[in-house]
Subunit: 379 residues, 2 copies
């Protein structure tokens, strides 16, 4: 029986994780739940899963709910951080959106937990620091992203020097076939209709701009210790093949399945074993035929190239890319910048701050804040 | 340094194995070579690889070549069998065509060797006996077939109870799109033009009738211990995806690569490690797009259904199927039966002899001989 803490329990990944737990009551037990500010949703989950500890990031979230405070609910970022290192937990699912999840990833790894990481921003903003936390604390980083889960499944027990290259797949998002002129008129409503995946708003916009795929390239760089010239991306519109691994002998393995976050979550909770689960809709070659692949159009999706270049630059650049992108996405969702202007905001922040170094968590957080201020000034 | 014996060294798989050895001189050394009757080709290979021992199955093959006999070359099936259990060999590549390879598979496994098996007929005719030889002698069976190599690569370190299903791919052969009426006129020349793989004559005809895929289903049944209802086949015309494995959690892995026997051979010699090899042309998703999949047309390819049904029946039926099919293919190559009549020959032999049991190698060899006689009478 594995004991789980789920951070971001009321979001898309959190709810998928709890759906997995519901189907495997003998395998997983929820000991902690945390959310941002969705009190009612979290209260319902707490009533169902009866965790030892519940926390909300928003300090004001329990105003007017004295019964929840009386029941031991914590509030504020420290309440959530306490859960990330909760002594009785084996696995911490970090499904918090954005750079806010970084400290919890570090806390879980320092406490020796398996961190099932949906918060890819942790690795993007502070890859070396996160890996160092895992080394120091004995924690283990397991990806929840479908692409990185696919890579882990393909690599299996192979040694790092047996991997030649990884190829991440990208759906291409809702604007894969839209010409550059038509992209001027894209609004948030259009960008939120993802063709293959149902996800939260932030990642759905990132999928429409392909910024998400750049974040995943950086994530893969840190997770699998591969230089950027050995990480490729190919557009695969139906999102059936979740990624490829090419080995040094020329063999290629791929992992495939219908798009559904529950499989990578179950895998992150169970790896290296595979528990039986009949609920997960599997790949059927006849139904999925044909599988098609296209190159990434870096002209129409400039955030992809900006992000990968930030990864190559290293230092503070990935953190700047991530922070400025979060600001740009929020402004786009609020109708304050256009779809095409998001890349300009991020590019401006990278020009101003991307050359900095950032070797400590403190410096990362400083550059993150500076990048947000700079990006906001460009909106 | 692994020491290799290659049985069937002058055939298609044998030559591919030697091409692999040429590229990895520090990794593999050839200590034994055997062939059927191709004296000149074998002499050239012996001069190049300088094995300790050379053998020819044909007793008369060295007539008029006293210098080769003086050099220690052996002849006759016992000379080949001696090589299969050669004390100084680590790995025996069994690339002999047809049921003639069975005793050598058993000899290698009983002697505790790794048997890199291209001779799928061994497992088809005598699966239980072959597995028992491996258990008794401590030998290890590793497939050279691209499909079974793909399955081994996908399964990796997973436990047997974590595999739900395997899906073998089939190119569909040269007559995939030929309607039933046109198949009446098919001759050996047409059947020998395989669309994706360059192979020996026997397996090329078996690929055209899909008998080869039935043999592979039976081979997979024994290699991976799966019941027949958990082994599926799908037609994949470009032969890029070599097979799929579906796990109990719903995840599917596939192995892919350009059609080339050298990769599965290198894998069989190296497994579970992967040595670097730049010569092997790898899968490129952009070049290979689209990947398509179709159901098997069992009406137009009756040998496929006959073979799988023989596998399900068990007992002597797979040996009868294999023996009668060898007779039918030989007769077809010699222009003595039509393409469509091959299934009738095999079906007749199965009707007459498929219900027998055969629990020992002696009984298998008896039923093999009886099936050959019966099939010959139907030609």
């Amino acid at each position: 029986m594995k004991r789980l803490v789920i951070l971001g329990a009321t979001g898309s990944v959190g709810r998928s994780a709890l759906a997995v737990v519901r189907r495997h009551p003998g395998r997983f037990r929820v000991v902690g739940l945390a959310a941002g500010r969705s009190v009612a949703a979290l209260a319902a989950l707490a009533a169902e899963f009866r965790p030892t500890r519940v926390a909300l990031a928003d300090r004001a979230a329990l105003d007017g709910r004295p019964e929840l405070r009386a029941a031991g609910w914590r509030t504020g970022p420290d309440g959530v951080a306490e859960l990330a290192a909760f002594p009785s937990a084996d696995i911490v699912v970090n499904a918090i959106v954005g750079a806010a999840g970084l400290r919890h990833t570090i806390a879980a790894l320092e406490a020796g937990k398996r961190c099932a990481l949906a918060n890819k921003e942790s690795l993007v903003a502070a890859g070396e620091i996160v890996l160092d936390a895992a080394r120091r604390g004995g924690g283990e980083l397991v990806p929840v992203d479908s692409e990185h889960s696919a890579i882990l499944q393909c690599i299996g027990e192979a040694r790092p020097d047996e991997v030649r290259r990884i190829i991440l797949t990208a759906s291409g998002g809702p604007f894969r076939d839209l010409d550059a002129a038509a992209m001027v008129g894209v609004d948030a409503g259009m960008a939120l209709r993802h063709p293959t995946w149902e996800m939260g708003a932030k990642i759905t916009i990132d999928s429409a701009t392909l910024a998400n795929k750049a974040l995943e390239v950086i994530e893969a760089h840190f997770l699998y210790g591969l230089p950027y010239d050995r990480i490729d991306v190919v557009v695969h519109p139906t999102s059936i093949v979740h990624s490829f691994v090419e080995f040094v002998d020329g063999s290629v393995l791929a992992q495939m399945g219908e798009p559904n976050m529950e499989l990578p979550i179950l895998h992150a909770l169970s790896w290296p074993r595979r528990p039986p689960d009949r609920a997960l809709c599997t790949f059927d070659p006849l139904r999925s035929s044909p599988l098609t692949f296209e190159p990434v159009d870096t002209e129409r999706f400039p955030l992809f190239g900006l992000g990968v270049e930030a990864g190559r630059t290293g230092g503070a650049a990935p953190a700047v890319f991530n922070a400025a992108n979060e600001v740009a996405v929020k402004a786009f969702l609020e109708g304050r910048v256009s779809f095409r202007r998001m890349a300009g905001v991020v590019s401006g922040a990278l020009d101003a701050l991307g050359g900095r170094t950032a070797d400590s968590l403190k410096e990362i957080l400083e550059v993150d804040a500076a990048a947000r201020r700079h990006a906001a000034s460009l909106v």
